[in-house]
Symmetry: D2
Subunit: 139 residues, 4 copies
């Protein structure tokens, strides 16, 4: 698991002194992106695909934002707090919307049930990370 | 040019009735992403690369957000206004920061001068697009 | 247009001495990625979406590869010929498959007609770029 | 861990009947992408960044291809074997080149040592996945 923590701890500006809230967020973002790409594809193959258009669309939006958030959050060279905070807020909004839509299909489609859970968890992690970079003392 | 306008006009939910402010924004986002990827690489090859670390990092952040913003802004199936607005605000913040850093190197490096210009234009387009999806009457 | 040519010409290792076949390829890749993202979304909104599953899937694959190919092809720092050639071949395969599928729907859906054209052009540009980096004398 | 296996097993065309070689490959690709993005950023912050230009460039190429390969490999709707195989070969080439370059810096930089290991593992998984989709009986 703690794959990104291990990598980021070796960064010359970090030297083991990691922001764990931010790192958890990065791990959730990359994981959620993968889940959303997979959920979009599974929805596309469902017989009732015409009822899953909004779900597919939000899956794709959420995946795009999660990948961007994961990458932006990973970089520890120089500084970039305002961009990280705005990115994590945008990602949290996408995760929130995707979770709500996926939940509407969760009883019928197991992939939507799993995806809704991941999106909820990622939204929470993104909001906590946005808070932590804005108020580093509280982190 | 008006490549994305041509495509989006054919979308069944759009039927020629395009939001031109949003489409200009999408075109700027994709163009700015390409410029930032190229500027990061050109900075990396400069003799004085150690003075361009922050520039490279912001170039990469900006490219990630511009690509996500371009894709999220392109989708016209269903609806997603809040996510589009938050994404465009995050992208504008990244473009703004990247423009400011690139401008510091613009007199020495032509790629930074061009990139700063693109980032300024993209930040403006993103803010206008965020306004237009929030207040569609005004669009 | 010649937006990427302008940027890449400023790279310290290039100094105006651009590989025009490769640059045309990069421009086609980024443009094709945008078209494919838009076509996938327009297909998703079509009434007959269940007949467009394969098209949407190939659009998304093609977009992913075109974006990767555009970025890999853009970098001129150091060297990377083998990776560029393999990437352009993979991208050409995706463009070719996407063009063939889009053509099956071109008479009904204008977005598929335009997308098929872009994919054909991009496949050709990718194959030419792969040849040019493998046989630089002929470029 | 077996996060992607869990998701892909719920796909209507898969129904628990997963290609485990391909799924391992997808998991390695996404993990390697994250490692390469992080290694590029850590290299950029090193005092001796001018000796790490080629490493950063290959990290970025490898990350782009790993993300594309992860997404292309994830989709199980319709079919796409030729594209998957070509993509996995291109990704393996990028991982191979990145591993070789990272190994040159592994004794000095822990992030390069970890990244080289991930890239080696991902190259192997990509080549095995390319074989498995080409010769599904043997998979």
């Amino acid at each position: 698991m703690h794959h990104m923590r291990e990598m980021i701890a070796t960064h010359p500006s970090v030297q083991g002194n990691t922001n764990d809230v931010l790192i958890s967020c990065i791990e959730e973002c990359y994981s959620c992106a993968q889940t959303c790409i997979s959920c979009a594809d599974a929805c596309l193959a469902e017989e009732m695909v015409e009822q899953l258009r909004q779900c597919i669309r939000l899956n794709l939006d959420c995946a795009d934002l999660c990948l961007a958030a994961g990458s932006v959050g990973t970089r520890r060279t120089g500084s970039n707090e305002e961009i990280i905070a705005a990115t994590m807020r945008a990602c949290a909004a996408a995760c929130q919307a995707c979770a709500e839509e996926c939940e509407r299909h969760a009883s019928k489609h197991e992939h939507c049930r799993i995806c809704a859970e991941h999106c909820r968890r990622c939204a929470k992690a993104c909001n906590e990370a946005a808070d932590s970079v804005r108020n580093p003392v509280a982190a």
